[in-house]
Subunit: 337 residues, 4 copies
């Protein structure tokens, strides 16, 4: 059975999802919805889908799920509309910059019994997933320390940064999700510090471009996260987990396995360029998991609570950074992992 | 413009090509031809193609190219038929176990002006291709020595081996093509020696399972090839090129970049399992190159001469092995690279 | 000209120094002084040195330098005595657990014009030193982030821990020195958090066994340090420096370069066991630097100020950890780097 | 008990041995003998040894062993003299360029019961030795193929090459020893081919600078050896052993473990420069093994038969290369391994 999908958002991330939906044996891209008709038309044409407004797409019973890849400020309204129409929802992160609003929306979807998955794609990266599987299998005993490194090749445009919610909410939110996933516990203490080293314009809009965060769980597990908006050598995404019986680490992938030995140095290829290359497989596997759940089978999804807790940590980081003191994240009463 | 393709052969290799044709934006799988109607039906159904006999498929003007992935003994007749019908031809290796017959067929296709490409997929492997590009760019100066390692995880079924033409023709033929490609010269001397170490049954049918070959070109460049039908740790495909100003080497790819540090050892994943995994990308890029040429644009293809010369080297290896002495490959008057 | 050395302390570290003094072309081990006559006798005999009490050794004009490798509580008195006798001093870290006392002693030695070097051996590790040289050479541009990982294979005996001054003073002090050395600036903010995950007995004596520290300099450079008293896979000592134009990292060394490929995994040797193996070369090079300075030539030494500042950071870490809030290290008015 | 040693030959290799003898707890360098009194004087002075002529040194009962590191043409006479004087002998390779003469001399030493060890230092390299130990332990099952790569950074002076016996005898002889050691069988067939690619002057004196050799044992095990007199990236010494249950390989060592990530490439240090750096430890461990045997304890030594067989293979390689056909090495009736 093939699931009919309505894609909302025909931008860069929407285009990835459109391609993956088209290639997935179990799915069919029926509609593309976007504020820009030209963008919607262009993407729809590539995959023989129709352009429609939201109302029409949600009215079509062939649509089983809505995939939301539009701007953050539209997420809550779209999730509500899709849920009201009885559709399953896949939504890109974050839920909403307003935590209370995000939480309220999640409560409604839960009451309605709507299937919801959030787009934290890194959990589906084959390397990080393999690492996590081995942690679960007990290969390194009890987890003691997690180290997460995440560096972008360069900062996004200032216009984007101004609407992004800041480095902690826009960039480190992925690492907060990784941290919770790997620690298996919700951090009870968080310390953040940050600098503007890459571009003074980022400081001028009140944001930072380099940051370190330390997390501690009630069980005493420790985690350190480092973020930078600049890495001349490519997209740097690594995880290291230290346990009572060993250490697991996931290194970056490169374009080739070729090494060049010459006078003075042995050279190999740097890490893959950016998230489109690095997480191409992760996006596909993430979609597969959602389609599997949609078909009524068991699948590992990123839940609304997961997404909300990552945002809680991002908000706590901004607070800690401002006060230069550790803070206790306020989970708003969401049940613990 | 989309190229209509007729696929002949619905076996393991045919299935790879069918999937790649279906996914290629510039191609469409129109027909599947196979001696087994059930196999043809099964594959055709997966990609909305038709099952047909050869005559009917070749009669369709929408078919621009024939992709031959049937058993070796059918290659020559099929190439002739496709050429006579004015179709371009992509053919899996080898051309034919009878060198004279293969050569004659190539002459006919050349006279007819038929576009022909042979399926030596390793030239399109991203790692080997990146290595070759750097050799061409002069990154390591003049080539002096090439080392090619090629080990299968385990031997194929005996029934297959009995029809295969032997290890040199069936397996090392790929390495002979790599050698010529990297050396940039046709070897003028070849020495081969071999053993049966993996399975006595292989010796009983007159074949070998472990072999070493040494090549020397007129310019004095040297090349060593090693083959084994057994590698407990996966599919081992490596190349090393030593030049006057350095060395390039292409290592294997693994399923993940995860390392596990524990008492006694640091572990990482072994090489990818077999050619379907390792050369998945190579098959796609190889097809793209053929489609590019089909569209009248410039592309690096493996020519009939390339394929014939690889067979010439395989035949020479069998001869050298029997006499335990170096031999001069007989290129049958084919023009040199 | 050969420098006569008096070694104080015939324990594990003293024995390393004795062996290196004996092997150094420019030095001669004249005396071994130790509270335990048997230990002194044993070590002295191995290198044809004499056992003496401090007074007699310092009275010998052939003694040019005193190497102090005795317990921490004896350091200040010994440095004073050596300085008063006109000898140069090499002293193991830390200076003294009492910062004010340590500072006072340093002032006296400075007034006396005594040549003083502190035993922060990691600066002399060939890998860390090569990394530092490349940072100095500007290979990665301006420094933005430093990551230091330091894990012992297992905790020392409780009896040792009870006198050690705690993890920050005993173990992380080395990493504080590395941090200052690599950052090229004195941190102005420090946050520390820690856990007892390895052995409950360590918590019972009021110490921790797992800790994370975050440093920030006035220029906004960031540094994260992680320490653990347990690493099942060996002694884990790594540094990573991220700059505006690239990243440098120094990985661990292993006993061999042998890799074993087998079904399921590729294995290599884990990191070298402990500091005696890992820092064997560092101890030798450190001594050479001291001997070079002793001969009146230019050498990179670790100064009293360096040692004191590392202790200041260790003290700040303990304070931060207790309050779970960042603190400003109190450099006691010592001039900045 | 300390063994008194007489060193013959104060050149580059002699100097290495002198330093190691001086540093070994169980040995003392008593005499240095060299045709050049100045060279002998210089080396002797460094280690408080005496300069003597051979007669006087051999007459001293404190001399237990003679270490021969003089030019090849002196080896046989010196071994005879040392044996006649009742001394143990450690001799650098090769025994003598004349195989019959070498064999005769070995017979005499054997009859005299003289302890003899040959200087094939690579067996004592920690990496190669660790690899060999794992082969012996059965870690990769039955050995099937051995691959040995040996490349010098650059060719030695022509004057040296003219007296060296040619690449097979001077350079590849080490690899022949490695091959026998790892295969655990004496090769029964050998094929060699070679080129002059590095320097035309080498061809003019009738030698080659690039060579490939293939070995086969009676049990069907295969081995390939490659040699080059040029490697712009350093001294390249690698071994790979492929067995029925896996593969072991020993990679090169580098000066540091530092990696530099920058736009375009990740760089690390090339292999160590040359044999003095690469085999520094091997020379020390080799001497220790000899001293252990001298003290009457069990030790793995390289025997006269081992040395002779390596020469037999070198001679066979020259013969094979001349005829471009495989040859059967003539072991002169020496008992098989």
């Amino acid at each position: 059975m093939t699931a009919g999908i309505c894609l909302i958002g025909a931008g860069r991330i929407g285009a990835i999802h459109a391609e993956n939906i088209a290639a997935a044996p179990g799915a069919r891209l029926l509609y593309v919805v976007d504020a820009s008709p030209a963008a919607a038309e262009d993407l729809a044409a590539r995959y023989a889908a129709q352009v429609a407004d939201l109302e029409r797409a949600l009215a079509d019973p062939a649509v089983q799920a809505v995939l939301i890849a539009s701007s953050t400020d539209t997420h809550v309204a779209l999730m509500r509309a899709a849920s009201a129409a009885g559709k399953a929802v896949f939504c890109e992160k974050p839920l909403d910059l307003d935590l209370a609003r995000a939480r309220e929306c999640l409560g409604e979807l839960e009451s309605a019994g709507t299937l919801l998955a959030l787009g934290f794609n890194r959990r589906f990266d084959p390397d990080f997933n393999a690492l996590w599987q081995r942690v679960q299998a007990g290969d390194i005993g009890e987890i003691e320390m997690v180290t997460i490194t995440s560096r972008d090749p360069g900062p996004p445009p200032l216009a984007y940064l101004q609407r992004s919610g800041g480095l902690f909410m826009d960039m480190m939110i992925h690492d907060f999700d990784m941290a919770r996933w790997l620690l298996g516990e919700d951090p009870s203490s968080l310390y953040a510090t940050a600098s503007s080293l890459v571009d003074p314009a980022i400081a001028e809009i009140g944001d930072v471009d380099s940051a370190l965060v330390t997390l501690k769980t009630p069980g005493g597990k420790l985690c350190q996260i480092s973020n930078s908006r600049r890495a001349s050598y490519g997209y740097d995404q690594r995880i290291e987990v230290h346990g009572s019986r060993g250490m697991l680490r996931a290194e970056n992938r490169s374009a080739s396995q070729v090494e060049c030995f010459r006078a003075g140095a042995v050279e190999r290829d740097p890490p893959l360029d950016f998230f489109l290359e690095r997480y191409a497989q992760a996006y596909r596997i993430e979609l597969d998991a959602f389609l599997t759940a949609l078909a009524g089978q068991s699948a590992q999804l990123v839940t609304g609570s997961d997404a909300l807790k990552a945002q809680v940590l991002a908000a706590a980081a901004a607070r800690s950074c401002a006060g230069n003191c550790a803070v206790a994240p306020d989970y708003l009463g969401i049940e613990h992992a």
